[in-house]
């Protein structure tokens, strides 16, 4: 419409910046979506002991490595935020790229893991455990991909020293993606 940001966007009556409020809103909606899915899984699991036979075939080592990878990438985004706050935009960009690399690494391991499972016949239709396994981890992987894309876009801005506050916002989101995995890992891998 050829005019700039509305004044509304610059106001801050609650004391919490508007962008941060919005991210919390998104995370709130995401928490109930994953919460609903995991609650369904847990309820089934509690009443179906035989699922542990299926769960025995998940690759705990891959899951553990991926947990480590995601936690490390979360550290990188924290460092990126710190750099952005200090105004060191090129350093921030470097750490954002390292976070994206973490996301890529996570997805590569996931792809290796899944292709092995699928070739051994553990597909999404094999049994309800595997349906949940692929649905929950797949939804999470979509969030990893989405996060990586958004980080790449933000990095282009930060390179030009624009929208530096967004590094913190994507950091909040990335921690959420991390925490979801922290729930998925024990539920899908460790609980045999």
């Amino acid at each position: 419409m050829g005019h700039g940001q509305p004044i509304a966007t610059t106001r801050c009556a609650s004391g919490v910046a508007t962008g941060k409020l919005a991210v919390w809103w998104v995370l709130g909606s995401e928490i109930v979506i994953f919460g609903g899915l995991l609650a369904c899984y847990i309820l089934y699991r509690l009443f179906h002991d035989q699922w542990s036979v299926e769960a025995a075939h998940t690759n705990t080592l891959c899951g553990a490595i991926n947990t480590f990878v995601l936690l490390t990438s979360s550290l990188f985004i924290v460092l990126a935020h710190k750099a952005a706050e200090e105004g060191a935009h090129l350093k921030a960009v470097k750490f954002i790229y390292l976070t994206i690399a973490g996301a890529g690494c996570f997805l590569v391991i996931k792809a290796y893991e899944w292709s092995g499972e699928i070739t051994h016949g553990f597909t999404i239709t094999k049994s309800l455990f595997w349906s949940f396994y692929y649905t929950a981890a797949g939804l999470h992987a979509l969030h990893v991909i989405g996060g990586a894309v958004i980080m790449a876009i933000i990095a282009q801005d930060v390179k030009k020293k624009r929208h530096m506050h967004r590094v913190e916002l994507i950091g909040l989101y990335w921690h959420f993606v991390d925490i979801v995995w922290i729930f998925l890992f024990p539920l899908l891998y460790i609980a045999k």
Binding site: P6, I7, A8, W25, S29, G35, L43, S131
Partner: protein, 563 residues
């Protein structure tokens, strides 16, 4: 539009109209987009109701404008009537249209905080509309498994016979949810952060509180259903068995996911309606809202409670009777705060100088009719009575006595009230009165017979009662005909509204800034407000309902007036 001359001038004019009305980021334009889309969907939903009511009253006869209604058509019509009226009429009009239009104006700022997310929200909503309409025309026909979409019927194409319609329908609903989650970001952050200077927590008009609390309820309840929709979509397309007992799944799980959302959803649409009513009854009784804080905290209490009542929809789904008792108790408890709000509103009216304008009539009718909906709900909330009433027309009449007041009557109240602000002109009050009585009387004549029919045993999902001689005894068919004729009358009177609405838009009396002499900030702006709303953004000095303050010469006291 195809015949427009392509001279540069008209081309740029066309481009500017295109920009102004289809790709605008102005909250008022987006509100109007939601309003008009919702109205168009209401016409489709109303037409569906007309067709299946004709089939019920005159089974097997050709319906004018549709043709013969077979069992599959009937199922598709009732399913989509319900889905359209709730997801594509009540939600977009009550939350999105009023929320978008009112929040920045009444909070005293120039726009929503994220105008482009706002535009995206409408575009996704429009996409959901298109997907839904497409689902009526695909091979196999539109989905007919009821708006609640219970599996295994909805999950397995071999049962529902609509392999494409069912999945498209589900996709449309999911898109609609995404649109409203995006809209909610704006509603809550705008109200939290962008209020006019001086507007403290208890200076916020009740309708804004209610819309925002409703958005929070929606956000908190819809997540599990989004997860459930993904699971159901996988059941339909990949033949997984999340909800299929033969594959180890559990169909009752869907019912939990659906109603965990479905019951709060009632309050998601009820609250904005209650808020609209609060604004109108204070203005037209020239009185302060009785017990502002009580209304606010009661609303929050209702919101919290609404998460703990959902299984009252599942009393005959094989629920543990002890669990049924718990949900009976929570359900009966939730009627307490709603009753309290009713009393507070009546106390607001008490001793006021009441003006029976069209919006006031609709607001009062909303309270009276919703009361009937609430009282009949108690029979259904009690598990013992519900076992008999479940899936009868009693249930149907009950929830139409809640949803019609919410989505139709309160919406009319709001439209008649804010029309002068939206379009700068007054609607005709005489025609408004005609429309009011032409809506309210037939509405009661439709649904009171249905209470009776339900108590007499009419099951909801029968498309031709001639096949059930037990349900054709006495005057039962006559009552069905009464309900159908009343619907025809009610629909016909909506023509009066449409005429009034569109002719007043261009030929109504000029309204001026504040035709109702109201206090809230939207009446400070021009009618209609320009892009940016206010020439200088207002500052707030007092709560919103200071009417008839003793010692003042005028009986209203705008929020932005210094003294």
């Amino acid at each position: 539009m195809g015949t427009v001359h392509h001279s540069p001038a008209s081309q740029s004019r066309l481009a500017s109209i295109w920009h102004r009305y289809l790709f605008s980021t102005d909250h008022k334009v987006i509100g109007m987009q939601y309003l008009f889309t919702g109205m168009a969907m209401a016409i489709i939903g109303g037409f569906f109701a007309y067709v299946f009511r004709m089939q019920l009253a005159f089974p097997g006869k050709e319906v004018l404008g549709y043709g013969l209604v077979n069992a599959n058509n009937y199922n598709m019509l009732i399913t989509n009537h319900g889905a359209i009226m709730i997801f594509w009429v009540a939600m977009p009009v009550l939350i999105a249209a009023f929320g978008n239009y009112l929040i920045p104006l009444m909070a005293g700022c120039d726009d929503m905080v994220f105008p482009r997310i706002n535009r995206l929200s409408y575009q996704i909503f429009l996409l959901s509309v298109l997907v839904l309409i497409a689902s009526f025309f695909v091979a196999g026909g539109g989905f007919g498994g009821a708006w609640t979409s219970y599996p295994p019927l909805s999950a397995n194409p071999a049962y529902n016979l609509t392999p494409n319609g069912a999945s498209l329908w589900l996709l449309a609903v999911a898109l609609e949810f995404v649109a409203f989650l995006l809209g909610g970001i704006n509603f809550i952050t705008t109200l939290m952060n962008s209020r006019a200077p001086g507007m403290r927590m208890y200076d916020i008009p009740i309708v804004l509180w209610m819309i925002v609390i409703a958005s929070v309820l929606f956000m908190g309840s819809v997540g599990p259903l989004i997860a459930g929709a993904v699971m159901l979509l996988f059941d339909q397309t990949l033949a997984i068995g999340f909800f299929d007992p033969s594959k180890g799944g559990d169909p009752v799980l869907w019912q939990h996911l659906f109603w965990f959302f479905g019951h709060p959803e009632v309050y998601v649409v009820l609250l904005p309606a209650m808020g609209i009513t609060a604004e109108i009854i204070t203005v037209f009784s020239r009185k302060k809202l009785f017990a502002y804080k009580t209304v606010l905290f009661t609303t929050i209490a209702v919101g919290v409670l609404s998460f703990f009542v959902w299984a009252h929809h599942q009393f005959i789904s094989g629920i543990d009777p002890r669990m049924a008792n718990i949900f009976t108790i929570t359900t009966v408890i939730i009627s307490v705060p709603i009753t309290e709000m009713m009393f507070v509103y009546i106390a607001t009216l008490y001793g006021g100088s009441i003006q029976f304008t069209t919006p006031m009539l609709f607001a009062l009718a909303f309270l009276a009719e919703f009361l009937i909906g609430g009282v009949t709900g108690i029979f259904l909330g009690a598990s013992s009575a519900d076992i008999y009433f479940h899936d009868t027309y009693f249930v149907l009449a009950h929830f139409h006595y809640t949803f019609v007041p919410i989505a139709i009557i309160a919406v009319f109240a709001g439209l008649y009230y804010w029309f002068p602000k939206m379009f700068g002109r007054m609607m005709n009050d005489k025609l408004g009165h005609v429309h009011f009585w032409g809506t309210i009387i037939p509405f009661n004549c439709i649904f009171i017979p249905l209470f009776y029919l339900g108590a007499a045993g009419d099951h909801r999902r029968i498309y031709n009662y001639e096949n059930f001689p037990d349900l054709m005894r006495g005057h039962m068919q006559d009552l069905r005909i009464v309900a159908t004729i009343s619907l025809l009358v009610m629909l016909a009177f909506q023509g009066v509204f449409l005429y009034n609405f569109f002719s007043s838009m261009f030929r109504g009396k000029k309204a001026g800034k504040n035709p109702w002499q109201a206090n809230t900030l939207e009446w400070v702006a021009e009618s209609p407000p320009p892009h940016g709303n206010f020439p200088t953004l207002p500052v707030v000095y007092r709560p919103p309902y200071e009417y008839s303050v003793p010692g003042r010469s005028s009986d209203f006291w705008p929020q932005n007036e210094k003294a």
